[in-house]
Every structure is written in C-alpha cells, then in structure tokens.
Symmetry: C2
Subunit: 152 residues, 2 copies
DNA sequence: TCAATAATGAAAATGAATTGCAATTTCATT
DNA sequence: AATGAAATTGCAATTCATTTTCATTATTGA
C-alpha cells in the first residue's frame, strides 16, 4: 500500500510524466467538472462551460475530459444514451448506478455484499476481475409518483 | 402469468403483428445466429455468414438482428468494444457476464443472491428496476496461465 | 528574449449505426 | 400461372459521436 495522491497531485504527476504545460482554459474545465461532480456528456459539459467562458472550444473540453480519464480522475460511463458520460472519481471510492430512464436521474450506491459476491463468482470461474459495472435501470421515486398521478 | 411462447412462436407473432413476410436470407441469418449462441457484433455475424451465403448483405444482417431485438429474441450488449453485440435470449433465462479483456471470452453466470440484493438496493431508493446490467471485466483462467508462463 | 514544445480552435476524418431508394421477391388473390 | 400490393434487399448515402489534423497561439525553461 503506498500513499494515495490527491486529485491535484495526480494531475501534476501526470503533467510531469508527459511533459504537459498548464493553461487557464484547461484548469477552468477541470475545476468546473470536479466541483460539479455530475455525470456529464462532453456536450453537456461544453454547453455549461460555454456560458461562463465562450472562448473555450468543444475540442478543449473533449481533450480535458480525456486527460482526466487518463490520470484516473474521471471515469467513463455508458448508460445507454447515445453519448457516453464522464464522472469524477473520488479517492478510495467505488460505487454503482441506478439510472432513471424517464428523467435521466443518476443515483450512486455502494453495496459491500454485492461486491463480495461478485468476487466469489469470479473466483469460481478462475477469473481475475480488474473492473466491473453494475447498473440498475428503471424509474426513480419521483417519476413513479408522477406516473401514478397521471393514470386515471 | 400467461404462457411464454417459444422463439419461433415469438417470431411469427411478431411477423403477424407487423405484417412481415418471410425470406430465405433472413431465416438463414436468424437460424445461424440462434444456433451459434454467441455474442456477435453485426460485423462478426456478417463475416461468418458471408462465407456460407455471399449474396447476403451487411444491411440484411443488421436488419435481422434489429428485428430479433425488437421481438426480444436477441439482447444488445455493450462490453466496451467499439461495436455493440447481440446475444440470443433464451426463455426464462437471465444472466450476467464475465468478460476477458485479453482474449475477449465471455462467460455467462447467474447469481440469485446478487439479484436479490439488487432489488433490496433499489427498494431502498424507491426505484422500480426494469432492467439491469452486471459485467465483470478482467482476465480469464486460460489467459492468466498464459501470462504466468510468459513472465520470466 | 528565444526556441522548443504544448495547447487551442476550426475543420476534416473516422467509424459504427441507420436510412433512402430503386430493384427484387413474396404471397394472397385472381 | 399471372397479377399487383406490400415487404425485402443491396448499395450508397447519411447521421452522429468521437477523434484527429494542422495552422496558430501560449507556455516555459534556458
Ligand atoms: Mn457515478
Ligand atoms: Mn450473454
Ligand atoms: Zn426519474
Ligand atoms: Zn481470456
């Protein structure tokens, strides 16, 4: 076990390793993304950033997310939308997703029992698991209420 | 609970409902796909069918798989490859996937405990789950052996 | 200050998925 | 068997997210 580095440390380690330079635009994007802590498509993030800094282009947003993914500060999600999403990865944390197909809401959850059972399954097949994905699709509490009201 | 229909019944129900006609090409594709019982990309299936029936086009394969998906005889999988895959859906059956990132092997498994725990989680959040996806990515037994042999 | 090199924006390229359309095939009805 | 409405097919074209190219600008260490 070696000490885990903070997000910004990870980022500067990565910059050092690949000889990257810094830029205000990229910093702004990264900062916005990490603070918002949501599940953005590239386009969604671009649209929000455009409001505050219209001089930032789609390409730069795209490349910033790609960079974050490379240094494990962002994870890529594919929730059945046409476009894939990026979420901030926090230290030591793992979670899975509940996805509402009606309103798009995404809820994160953790369940140690499930995690343990997954490992059991893998062991049974001689598999070594390096990553997994558990997604529950359906309708959230709020949307179920709305739907109930609409019937009749 | 009403009686579940067999694959071919499902197909002819669907044909009746949408006024479809039958064709040798489509039948061949569907037959090949269901018998092979694997996780094909459209292109993979096309390439294999091309060997036996070169007069069948990519579009027709694509449309046959789409049709199967519509009548729930095929399911769509997204395993991180660039292209999505289709798998036959068997009656009453549900399963999740172990995916070897080295050789591409896909192993199917079922685990009732995990299924139950998923429902518990959903209930806790007021969610109604209509579908879910559990994928374990890693390295299969065979590939782990190979890798062990290669070191040193 | 000055190179060297990275970052950026705009446009083009890529590639899987999908569709438009003319030609062909199916099939119920003559 | 012939007919004709409607479905199927092949090919090319299109869509759309993603990725790359390339000319220009910004950063940084010497
Ligand atoms: Mn998440
Ligand atoms: Mn499967
Ligand atoms: Zn909802
Ligand atoms: Zn393998």
């Amino acid at each position: 076990m070696h000490k885990q580095s903070s997000p910004l440390e990870k980022l500067s380690e990565h910059k050092a390793r690949f000889g990257l330079k810094s830029s205000n635009k990229r910093s702004f994007i990264i900062d916005y993304f990490l603070k918002a802590d949501r599940h953005f498509t590239v386009e969604e993030l671009y649209d929000e950033i455009k409001q505050k800094k219209p001089e930032i282009s789609y390409s730069t947003v795209y490349r910033a997310l790609k960079l974050l993914a490379e240094c494990k500060l962002a994870g890529q999600c594919t929730f059945g939308d046409s476009a894939s999403r990026y979420e901030p990865i926090h230290q030591y944390e793992h979670h899975d997703h509940l996805i509402c197909r009606r309103c798009g809401r995404i809820i994160e959850f953790e369940n140690d029992k499930i995690e343990r059972l997954q490992k059991d399954v893998a062991r049974r097949y001689g598999f070594h698991v390096s990553a997994h994905k558990l997604e529950l699709y359906g309708m959230c509490r709020k949307c179920r209420k709305v739907q109930k009201g609409q019937r009749q």
